[in-house]
């Protein structure tokens, strides 16, 4: 999706004596002209948190393949040259040429010897001359230097600008890493600011350059730092024509869809464990000290009810015992991949009172929330570092955000109220069914017009882009349609069994185009999926785990989630849907 950002000036940090202004230029092409001006109470905390957000933004854990573009360009040209040569000198001409060439070859080798000798003389002479020239390599060095700068700067320049939203109660900065596997959101409470003007609510992309980052590093506890979002930009007093900074960015589809998936995943329930700073220190110190060179590379969290959390780091087999206690009901083991990405939170250890880790299950993302008092940092990690947020699991379906629902009503309400919990939305839209409301919220996320605040469990209004997102990015996907189709069939043959392990086993069969698919899903008492299975082709061809589910599993999950409240079930007895309905009634 191509978007044009327009800034009145580059974002700028100015410092005169001990007064610093972090001037963020908002994107002028937006309808809502957001503005904000407030003095920070804890500039050091803000500085370190923002520097950490920047680290997320530029982090890229993808393997860099050598592009060898020069080689392939040459290869293409060479192939074309040869094809042309072939067309020009047809095969029958080739023989005649070959004979001629043989005779020239002899002559050529003789001449070549002579040339080599002359070249040697020339080279020696040139070397002697060059040795007196102080600037001999200047242009080459300069060129290389600028190329280096361009290469360096390009990666920084290409960073997808973070999104800043001014809410009634907080200012939030959201960003994705370059590889789109890490999501970061810094929420700064309004209590952190001494407001210098009434804020105008809204969202904008900010021009967060490497230069700005350097300037932010000058913040000190004795400097008065003012955060200013000013649509008029920030100029220096000189005679340079003020030029609008315009960025044309081809926003990757995954970036836009990623925001939606993050919100959907955030809305899913999971296990939350509170870690002390020393626990996070332990994890980071281990990761710093040990660099794995072979698989498996996961860390396994061993969670036993009311016991200290243990983490097994593979392939070393080392076990760390944290201070944190797991308060869940059931023993579980959770594997987490892409653990080196956790090092991005390292900088927040000294600043945080506690960390809250939310684990959603096998092959699912994790969220870490750092509580820094008036500031909160939420970091979301996709299932694997090689996965962005869009690949694999459709979190929006699992969270029940399918279809369009009453999107128009939800949009109007959210635009007005700005921040509401899902229940509050339902209370405001009394005449709408809850699944339609959920779908409407899902569509709000999908269109980039809202996000789920995992800290407060609320939906917040936020326009991700300055232009409406193209329909193909938010339209109901094929898998959603399949799930909707399957949902109608789910209850037909659905059965539930409750085991001694206090797990629910849901099974059903789907008949589509004369093909039968048997689907099974096991959910433990914490509401976590522990096992899935389906004999359809889509599932068998895929990863065969929750990172790549089929429509049947998703439909069964959505249906079964509603039945987890069932109580007094007999162990290992199979209940059919009619029995369940009777119990519910």
């Amino acid at each position: 999706m191509r978007v044009d950002y327009k800034y009145a000036s580059p974002s700028r940090c100015t410092q005169v004596d001990n007064q610093a202004t972090l001037g963020l230029s908002p994107d002028l092409s937006r309808d809502e002209k957001v503005s904000f001006c407030g003095k920070l109470k804890h500039p050091l905390l803000f500085r370190d948190a923002m520097l950490m957000l920047r680290e997320i933004v530029i982090s890229d854990t993808t393997k860099k393949t050598k592009e060898r573009t020069d080689y392939f360009t040459w290869l293409d040209e060479e192939i074309e040259r040869r094809v042309n040569a072939h067309k020009e000198y047809m095969p029958n001409v080739r023989d005649a040429l070959k004979k001629q060439m043989d005779s020239y070859d002899f002559e050529l080798s003789r001449k070549k010897n002579e040339i080599d000798q002359l070249l040697n003389i020339q080279r020696n002479l040139k070397r002697q001359i060059d040795s007196y020239d102080a600037w001999r390599d200047y242009y080459k060095i300069e060129r290389d230097f600028w190329k280096f700068i361009k290469d360096r700067d390009y990666s920084l320049w290409f960073v997808l600008d973070p999104v800043i939203t001014v809410h009634n109660d907080q200012v939030s900065f959201e960003a994705f890493s370059l590889d789109e596997s890490i999501y970061g959101c810094l929420s700064v409470s309004m209590d952190e600011f001494d407001l210098l003007q009434t804020p105008k609510l809204g969202t904008t992309n900010i021009d967060f350059s490497a230069k700005l980052e350097k300037e932010m590093q000058r913040f000190r506890s004795y400097t008065d730092v003012t955060l200013s979002v000013n649509p008029e930009g920030f100029t220096i007093d000189n005679d340079i024509v003020p030029e609008y900074v315009e960025k044309k960015i081809d926003l990757p589809e995954t970036w836009i869809k990623g925001f939606n998936q993050v919100s959907s995943a955030a809305a899913l329930s999971g296990i939350e464990i509170e870690l002390s700073p020393s626990d996070m220190y332990d994890i980071c110190a281990f990761l710093r000290k040990h660099k794995e060179k072979k698989s498996p590379r996961y860390m396994k969290w061993i969670l036993e009810p009311e016991e200290r959390v243990q983490i097994v780091f593979e392939p070393f087999g080392t076990i760390l015992t944290l201070n944190a206690i797991y308060h869940g009901n059931q023993k579980r083991e959770e594997k987490i991949w892409g653990r080196r990405r956790w090092l991005v939170v390292e900088k927040l250890i000294p600043l945080s009172k506690a960390f809250y880790v939310r684990i959603l299950g096998f092959g699912m993302p994790q969220f870490i929330r750092a509580d820094m008092g008036t500031m909160q940092m939420t970091v979301g990690f996709s299932s694997w570092s090689s996965n962005d947020w869009v690949k694999g699991t459709a979190f929006n379906i699992m969270a029940g955000f399918t279809g369009e629902g009453c999107y128009t009503d939800v949009y109007k309400l959210m635009k007005d109220k700005r921040c509401l919990s899902i229940d509050e939305i339902a209370a405001n839209l009394l005449n709408k069914k809850s699944d339609k409301i959920k779908a409407g919220i899902g569509m709000l996320f999908r269109r980039g017009e809202g996000y789920f605040d995992i800290i407060n469990n609320k939906v917040r209004f936020r326009h991700l882009c300055n232009v409406p997102i193209p329909e193909e990015l938010y339209k109901v996907s094929d898998i959603e349609i399949d799930v909707q189709k399957c949902s109608k069939l789910t209850f037909d043959n659905m059965k539930v069994r409750y085991t001694h392990k206090q797990e629910f086993i849901f099974t059903t069969t789907y008949k589509e185009n004369d093909k039968l698919s048997s689907t099974e899903i096991v959910i433990d008492q914490d509401g976590q999926i522990t096992k899935i299975d389906c004999n359809c082709q889509k599932f068998k061809r895929g990863e065969r785990n929750l990172s790549d589910p089929c429509a049947h599993i998703l439909a069964l999950y959505v249906a079964s989630y509603k039945l987890l409240k069932l109580k007094n079930l007999e162990y290992d007895k199979e209940y059919k849907i009619n029995d369940i309905m009777e119990m519910l009634l």
């Binding site: 370190d48 242009y139 000189n238 340079i240 020393s278 332990d282 980071c284 000290k289």
Partner: protein
């Protein structure tokens, strides 16, 4: 069959299916609206004819002379206007009559089954079935070969008292059209209202218009005319630019009375608007502008393609579409009309063509005689992507309609207005590319119909090439040859040009013209002109640099060799101005060594002339934008060194010239700006300063690059240190010459720097070694009080080179006794190195820290102690300072204890032990302190 009588010859029928004959009659319905009645009758076979008596299959049939008309259909007009003559088809098998409406016809197809073999099938959409289709109640028989006119039919029906449902027959056409029976127009009018084929009706309409009827006569016709006939009238009048009915047209346009249903009536409006616009310059210009603007949208370039569920990116798509016969391939063929292959525009909704808009543009372009647009559209229709789209998406009939329409237009141009034909053909020929599968032997209407029809013969037939009309338009052929992109088009041009050469048509061409023609990309054509050129070149005895440069600009080794010979033979020499021309050569890379040699051998005077000549030509570099290679711009920038040996006067003269160029504020190419900047700032500082004395450096708002240059010149002139913002800007974006001059100015103004702390910080942080050194020497020479202040700022810097220098100087000047104010500042530095540095030196400063914020110490301690796996030595030193800290700040004990216990509980033994030892120490000291109490 040979022994048939002449009467029987008339009745000979060679098709297997007997013909359905129609008779068209006019009448009035119950609402007194004119209507059409069409009688349908099958002409039966009398006997089969065989060339040999034993042959199984009949070769032809002899039809019966009389036809019994068994069915009839009534078509009603509205508001006093006749309906348009419908194109109908009578299906005998189904006993149905349906309407063939252009490309939306009912679907006729061939099917095969074992019992009947191939047979015609028909799928009739109910929408097109004509409901008012009845069987005749009485027998109606006519002799088909007897020349009956309308009145004969009417009389027959009247005599036999044959009646039809809701139809009252009009006996005399003059009653309907309001013309006397003996009027000279009546026969034409009857034909143009009744002929079955549209082109026949059009023929009679043209004849009618040629007779120049009056407005009143036109209006009489328009009173009952169908929409179709009225459209025809207005279109013909538009083509002939005849304003006779402008007022009438405006009245019809304003009127709310519908002549047919709304959709049909809007068609009439379209034609009327075309006609009215013709006589209104503004409207016509607007329409023409619209056509030219939207013309490229009529091209069916595929912009998006999803194959097997995967969307191709731009590069892949381009590559895929350039493979041969790709549009005919099964992969794409079935996507036409089903996938959004195109961008949405005036003519395409992303997936399908908007036929109304497409047709309208073709008709308007024809009506306005826009031959170039017609040519372009003809090309678009010829291209395989278009023909495949139409046929693949089931719109073949529409495609053939457009092709037929344009064919008639182009044929007419060819017959009556050659200039228009050439204009259209020119546009068409320069548009073809090799991807358009031009194949003159593939004589199929589905692809490249126009190319084959109008140009194919010239390529294949010698006589056609010899007698072509193109010989009268050789300049156009040359233009096409110079701009053609397809091999077949080049072949076409070559065929014409070859014949023209045989007739010595190019003998009078100038050498420069011939050189230009030798650049034609088609080898055969280029060598044709080379052959004419070379003998002429040999006769030249005097060196002409322009000819030489033109020859150098042709990419032919043969001509290059000829150019070299010519240069030697005529003792050629390039003037500096000629060398400046080199920069415009397309082949400059080939002649780089000559350019380099010449520049290297210039003396200062020649070099100045060369530079000035380049500057004079600066506008040519801007439009079209010529980009010089890096090698050449490097050469030009390097060559500036030649001015080092120039005299002061020469240097001053050049300075004045280039500064005035800079101050002229005209747009100049980047490389000229770089040269200008290089020249100005390569001059010795004193000369620059002296020269600037007499120059007024006034400027308004500028772009950053120009601003930096002129502002720096101003600083030179006024001999002052530039502002910080300028220094920063030059350091970030300036060229090496600019930085060099800036360094020189700063070096001269070192004394002022002592007062400008922020400028000094800038110089410390920049990556120019000389400036760092200047800043250091100024800093080291400062008074102690000022130095300490700057030292603090320096240590706050996030730039490594600046704070590392600050740390080094701390060691040098204070050793282990670092003043407290430094330590308290460094504790909140974002870089670990700085924090680690003070860990060993903090102990003695703690007593002074009492005055400062203890929270800062805790922040410092936490940021280092919670740093995983790093700075272990510093951590140890910090643990040692903790008891001392608590001595001064006992109220912070609980907070510190919490940190130590938290770290003490970690799995990292060394950290844990250190933290717990520190914790124990605190506790011990507290106990000791309490026991003392």
């Amino acid at each position: 069959m040979n022994n048939l009588t002449s009467e029987e010859q008339q009745r000979l029928w060679k098709l297997d299916k007997s013909p359905i004959r129609k008779i068209l009659l006019w009448g009035l319905d119950s609402k007194k609206n004119p209507c059409l009645l069409i009688l349908y009758g099958k002409q039966e076979v009398e006997r089969e004819l065989r060339s040999r008596p034993r042959s199984y299959y009949a070769d032809a049939y002899l039809l019966k002379p009389t036809i019994t008309y068994t069915h009839y259909a009534v078509f009603h007009g509205i508001n006093g206007h006749l309906p348009s003559i419908p194109n109908t088809y009578y299906s005998e098998e189904k006993n149905l009559l349906y309407q063939i409406k252009g490309y939306r016809t009912a679907n006729i197809y061939w099917d095969y089954n074992r019992s009947t073999g191939w047979h015609e099938c028909i799928n009739i959409d109910e929408k097109y079935i004509i409901k008012e289709f009845y069987e005749t109640e009485q027998t109606i028989v006519f002799d088909y070969y007897k020349k009956n006119n309308y009145m004969d039919y009417a009389a027959y029906l009247k005599t036999n008292q044959i009646s039809f449902k809701d139809f009252e027959l009009i006996e005399h056409p003059s009653d309907l059209f309001g013309f006397e029976a003996d009027s000279p127009y009546i026969k034409l009018i009857v034909n143009m209202f009744s002929k079955e084929r549209i082109y026949a009706r059009k023929k009679y309409l043209k004849q009618f218009i040629k007779m120049q009827p009056s407005v009143e006569e036109y209006e009489r016709i328009l009173k009952v005319a169908s929409v179709e006939l009225a459209c025809g009238i207005f279109q013909e009048l538009t083509i002939e630019k005849n304003p006779i009915l402008v007022d009438t047209a405006k009245q019809i346009d304003k009127s709310d009375v519908l002549w047919a249903n709304k959709a049909y009536h809007s068609g009439l409006r379209r034609f009327i608007n075309q006609y009215i616009s013709l006589f209104d310059d503004e409207l016509m210009c607007k329409q023409k502008e619209f056509i030219y603007k939207t013309l490229p949208e009529m091209d069916f370039h595929i912009k998006h393609l999803k194959l097997n569920g995967v969307e191709l990116n731009d590069k892949e798509l381009k590559e895929y579409l350039s493979s041969p016969n790709v549009y005919q391939s099964i992969n794409i063929w079935y996507l036409f009309g089903n996938q959004n292959l195109y961008e949405k525009n005036t003519y395409i909704d992303g997936k399908n063509v908007n036929n109304i808009a497409f047709k309208n543009t073709i008709q308007t372009a024809t009506a306005y005689g826009m031959a170039d647009a017609i040519g372009k559209i003809a090309y678009y229709l010829d291209a395989p992507r278009t023909s495949c789209y139409f046929r693949g998406s089931g719109r073949a009939s529409a495609y053939y309609y457009y092709v037929r329409y344009l064919r008639r237009t182009l044929d007419e141009y060819k017959a009556t207005d050659e200039v228009k034909f050439i204009t259209a053909a020119r546009e068409m020929l320069i548009s073809y590319t090799d991807l358009d599968n031009l194949d003159i032997y593939y004589n199929d209407i589905s692809c490249n119909f126009f190319f084959n029809r109008y140009f194919g013969e010239v390529i294949t037939n010698n006589d056609a090439a010899k007698n072509s009309i193109w010989h009268k338009y050789l300049s156009d052929v040359i233009f096409i040859a110079q701009n053609a992109k397809a091999l077949s088009v080049h072949k076409f041009c070559y065929a014409i040009l070859k014949k023209a050469n045989e007739n010595h048509k190019f003998d009078s061409y100038e050498i420069k013209e011939l050189i230009a023609l030798s650049k034609i990309p088609y080898k055969k054509t280029a060598s044709l002109f080379e052959k004419i050129l070379l003998p002429k070149l040999k006769t030249l005895q005097k060196f002409d640099a322009d000819i030489m440069i033109s020859l150098m600009n042709v990419s032919s080794e043969k001509l290059w060799n000829a150019a070299k010979k010519y240069f030697r033979r005529t003792n050629g020499k390039f003037q500096p101005e000629n060398i400046a021309e080199f920069l415009f050569l397309d082949t400059i890379e080939t002649w780089y060594s000559i350019l380099e040699d010449n520049i290297n051998h210039f003396n200062v005077e020649e070099y100045s002339a060369f530079l000035k000549s380049v500057i004079e030509k600066r506008e040519h570099f801007l439009e079209p934008q010529i980009e010089l290679s890096e090698q050449i711009t490097d050469l030009l920038l390097k060559s500036v060194d030649k001015l080092d040996v120039a005299t002061t006067e020469e240097q001053q003269d050049l300075l004045c010239y280039f500064i005035s160029l800079l101050l002229s504020f005209n747009k100049i190419p980047d490389f000229i700006f770089d040269i200008t900047e290089s020249i100005i700032f390569s001059m010795p500082y004193d000369i620059l300063k002296n020269t600037l004395k007499n120059i007024d450096l006034k400027y308004g708002k500028l772009a950053e690059k120009e601003y930096n240059t002129i502002s720096l010149l101003k600083s030179c002139k006024e001999d002052i240190l530039p502002k910080d913002s300028l220094i920063l800007s030059i350091l970030e974006t300036g060229s090496k010459r600019l930085v060099k001059t800036l360094t020189e100015i700063i070096n001269r103004k070192q004394a002022i720097l002592a007062e400008r702390t922020t400028t000094l910080l800038l110089l410390f942080e920049c990556n120019v070694y000389n400036l760092n050194k200047i800043a250091q020497s100024v800093f080291e020479g400062l008074e102690i009080e000022k130095r300490e202040k700057l030292h603090l700022i320096l240590l706050d810097s996030p730039i490594e080179r600046a704070y590392q220098y600050g740390l080094k100087k701390l060691d040098d000047w204070y050793g282990n006794k670092i003043p407290t104010q430094f330590i308290s500042r460094m504790m909140e530095h974002p870089c670990v190195e700085v924090k680690a540095y003070i860990s060993g030196k903090i102990k003695h400063a703690l007593s002074d820290l009492k005055q400062t914020n203890p929270d800062l110490y805790i922040y410092y301690v936490k940021t280092l102690l919670y740093l995983p796996n790093r700075v272990s030595k510093s951590k140890e030193q910090i643990y040692n300072t903790i008891p001392l800290f608590l001595k001064y700040y006992p109220e912070k004990q609980q907070e510190i204890e919490y940190i130590l216990l938290d770290i003490g509980s970690t799995n990292i033994k060394t950290d844990s032990e250190k933290a717990l030892v520190a914790f124990a120490q605190i506790k011990k000291e507290v106990t000791l302190y309490e026991s003392r109490l």
